[in-house]
Symmetry: C2
Subunit: 366 residues, 2 copies
């Protein structure tokens, strides 16, 4: 067990859920970097994609590298000598925050599918309670990546005046049918695995196959065809690395996917995956104004930076443009940055040079 | 049982296979439209994608609509009043030609995984034998769609001088890693279905789940995100159409995929699917010259039409450009047509107006 920098914040109890029901005794895990200023005006909250934990970068309590290690820290693009950075594990996850894998205090058993229907609005409300609980009335910046970008929009629309500036990265104001189709198929692969067993799996009977297919499909859509032409082309594995199976892995790209799946399958809870995936399909800023544009226009921030990637097939650039236009119509000063990173949706995790430069420039003008 | 227009051609026996082994007593199913001219110079051969049968369009023996119904027939884009059109079911398929679902004469049992390793070169050689068997020395035109386009390149490179002109549609000179990744995952979904049972399924124990996931993933990559935004947006099913399951289908796009899967799962043999899918990954025109460009340059046809679609993520336009450039370097007069059809890879099956116009114009100049 490595060091653990997580702290926990108890949510209000009961914590009401958007689609009905409430959580009792729920909490969120979070980590922080830097120091909150006496005026409490230098806080940046990071909302993550579906699977990352709150450990965005190393810190004193946990020196292991985080999922955005090169982005934040002293002197880095998000400079923790200046900013007090908070990263929260999303409500519904299995990385410390309450979710379907947590114990239901009412029964003493894991919630599994008895967890109430989860929306990104709920995740946003949990993050908002944490921020208030840390004594911060107004975030200097709310930053969201991927699913976290949708959660950020839910935060902004539900809590007007609570955020000065917003960084929106490779996300969407609503799920489009291509993204819904992919996520639906990922959920189906998990649910069709007999070991999923309507959510009643355990370590010995675990939906390994379903999770593996879901993850591979994720990786395929998170990256880009263009990047892979350069990285993998048609390179084959050495014959001793190949499987004996006549239809087994033969090309490097197949072994790359298998490696990703292997690392993920047991490290993320399948029921949590289903809940968060479905929440991503449900989110729709148009619910708050009759249309995407009208919903976004109701959001009031002083400034916004919207970053997207040309090769992203899951959250296409057209959707980043919608967000930028909508926030601008709401009165924000908006920078839209369209990057030609070859890594597709995952570029924000990989192409730190380009993303970092855009974010640092934006924060530098605050 | 509907009418059947298929005829059968016996391949040479033994029929040698590229990667070793040979087939005994193998045959291919085919259909024809129009009349072969006395000079035998008006024949067009159509090579199909992975799953279609030889029934490209209605004919006297089988008036049911074919998979390219609006493309060919009397007075249509491929005018069967002028052209003698042959469509062959690919070797390795289950639509009449010999494949893994056929009976192995050596054992009296279906081949299943004892079918020899299949390549598109083998499929091309079988089609070539059929053409020769019909008394045709030289095709007026060889037309290939998708996987059939790769088979066509295999035909051209292996049988120089046998084709006057070539129509290449939404295909590739070699599989790129994105396409390999998708197909590998489709094969994995089938193979991981316990009912696949190393190829030993039957009607009662059939890899329904694996085939369904494979087909849905196919449909997702055959169409385009752009088309779906217009067609499905975020439209939800009526509540009485939804499944009771909390993670069941909710959006129209999900029910569209389910319908496609339902129609496909029992109509295509899973082992045949595995063999043809793997053959698509293996094909590489670079084997014939050291590079894609050099391989294509060795192909000699008088004229070629290369058609691709901007929204095709599986066989991107860059690959159509490669084919056009390579054939031109080989001395062909080449037209490259890049269509902005919204339907992605499947556009050649749907956007008959645009594809038909390009093909008719090309054939009109012969």
């Amino acid at each position: 067990m490595s060091a653990d920098a997580r702290r926990y914040f108890d949510l209000s109890s009961p914590f009401p859920m958007k689609r009905g029901g409430a959580l009792s005794g729920a909490r969120v895990a979070y980590e922080t970097w830097g120091t909150l200023s006496p005026a409490r005006d230098n806080a940046i909250l990071i909302l993550t994609g579906l699977s990352p934990s709150a450990h965005a970068a190393s810190n004193e309590a946990d020196p292991s590298p985080g999922w955005w290690q090169d982005m934040l820290g002293p002197g880095k693009h998000i400079d923790t000598d200046r900013w007090y950075v908070i990263c929260v594990n999303t409500l519904g996850s299995c990385k410390g925050s309450t979710g379907p894998a947590s114990i239901d205090p009412a029964s003493g058993e894991p919630y599994r599918l008895r967890f109430p229907e989860l929306t990104l609005e709920d995740a946003a409300n949990a993050a908002f309670e944490l921020v208030r609980g840390l004594g911060i009335e107004r975030l200097a910046c709310l930053l969201g990546n991927s699913m976290g970008g949708m959660t950020a929009l839910a935060y902004l629309i539900q809590h007007p005046g609570s955020v000065r500036s917003h960084v929106s990265i490779s996300t969407a104001p609503q799920a489009q049918p291509f993204a819904i189709a992919i996520r639906s198929l990922q959920r189906e692969a998990i649910r069709l695995d007999p070991n999923w067993n309507e959510g009643h799996y355990d370590e010995a009977h675990y939906p390994e196959t379903g999770m593996s297919i879901a993850r591979k499909l994720g990786v395929i859509t998170y990256r880009s065809a263009m990047e892979w032409v350069g990285r993998f082309a048609r390179i084959r594995l050495e014959s001793d690395q190949r499987e004996d199976d006549p239809f087994g892995v033969e090309f490097q790209i197949e072994s790359y996917l298998a490696g990703h799946a292997r690392r993920f399958v047991r490290s993320f809870d399948p029921n949590c995956y289903l809940y968060l995936s479905r929440a991503s399909d449900w989110f729709d800023i148009a619910e708050y104004g009759g249309s995407v544009a009208a919903g976004l226009e109701r959001i009031a921030v002083e400034r916004a930076l919207v970053i997207g990637v040309e090769t992203d097939i899951l959250f296409p650039l057209t959707q980043q443009q919608e967000i930028a236009d909508g926030l601008a119509a709401g009165g924000a000063e908006v920078d839209l940055v369209a990057l030609d990173s070859p890594q597709g949706h995952d570029a924000f995790l990989v192409d730190i040079a380009r993303f970092g430069a855009a974010i640092a420039a934006f924060l530098g003008r605050m």
